[in-house]
Symmetry: C2
Subunit: 160 residues, 2 copies
């Protein structure tokens, strides 16, 4: 295993590890629990779930993997705060999207060649990337893993 | 900037970025808010702060940087759940430890040579490390960054 592969494994391990922690909570709670706020007056579980799907969906664009699968979620879960839009997808729908998206992203990541991870992502210019090579695709996965961990810390509070 | 340096920057950026997010919350809340639970029946802010100091203190051991600075915190913030030990350090004390620790770790990290980050950490044997080179010092910082993000997601709920 060379250094590139070692690094990729470190970051992918975090991604899959954090997904697994989130999944463990998601599978252990009911749709009714998903409707609860993680703390009084804060986001509901169902909002966090939709938010994560929308953020992860945007990785398709950033990693140059194609179009978003769920562009309709952006308006509800990225651009608007929780409880400001009355009609949102059901917990059942979001659970389905979540599983499907996890499988799809996993397939795409497994097909990446190591060098591919160190290429620039689509939101940085060639000029900036030449000066700042850390703005690569692997860094997108790393920042999204951190983001996922942040919300998993909240999501787990639904269990009581 | 070679690949090693790029990777180290990616992980250090996460560490400092997550610390900054946590700090922003910590500086914006009062000691009284720190005494609140992040959600009813869950950990208090003061417990999370002590827990993070204890976990980060243990990095000294794992990164072979010397002895723990606050070994007395382990029993309270690692081995016992919140609210099981009546006497814990005050918010004022913990705030001081947090700042001092952040500065100390930052100084130590800045003095690391790039190759140093890819050495084995102290909790893995040479045999295992030869098979699993991702169990290096940089990975300790990466997993602790994720851990910090997880609790920052909870800590921010104290603001209301």
């Amino acid at each position: 295993m060379n250094l590139n592969q070692t690094i990729i494994k470190m970051v992918l391990d975090r991604w899959y590890g954090n997904l697994k922690s989130f999944d463990a909570v998601l599978h252990s709670i009911t749709d009714e629990q998903l409707e609860r706020e993680v703390s009084p007056g804060k986001n509901r579980g169902v909002y966090l779930l939709g938010h994560l799907i929308a953020v992860h969906d945007d990785m398709l664009r950033l990693l140059n993997l194609g179009n978003k699968e769920y562009p309709g979620l952006d308006k509800i879960f990225l651009e608007a705060p929780d409880k400001s839009i009355p009609q949102i997808p059901s917990a059942t729908e979001l659970r389905k999207y979540w599983v499907k998206q996890g499988e799809m992203l996993s397939q795409k990541f497994e097909s990446f060649q190591p060098d591919h991870w160190f290429e620039k992502h689509t939101a940085v210019s060639i000029e900036d990337f030449n000066k700042e090579p850390h703005r690569n695709k692997l860094n997108i996965l790393l920042t999204r893993s951190t983001h996922l961990a942040y919300h998993t810390g909240q999501f787990i509070l639904l269990k009581y």
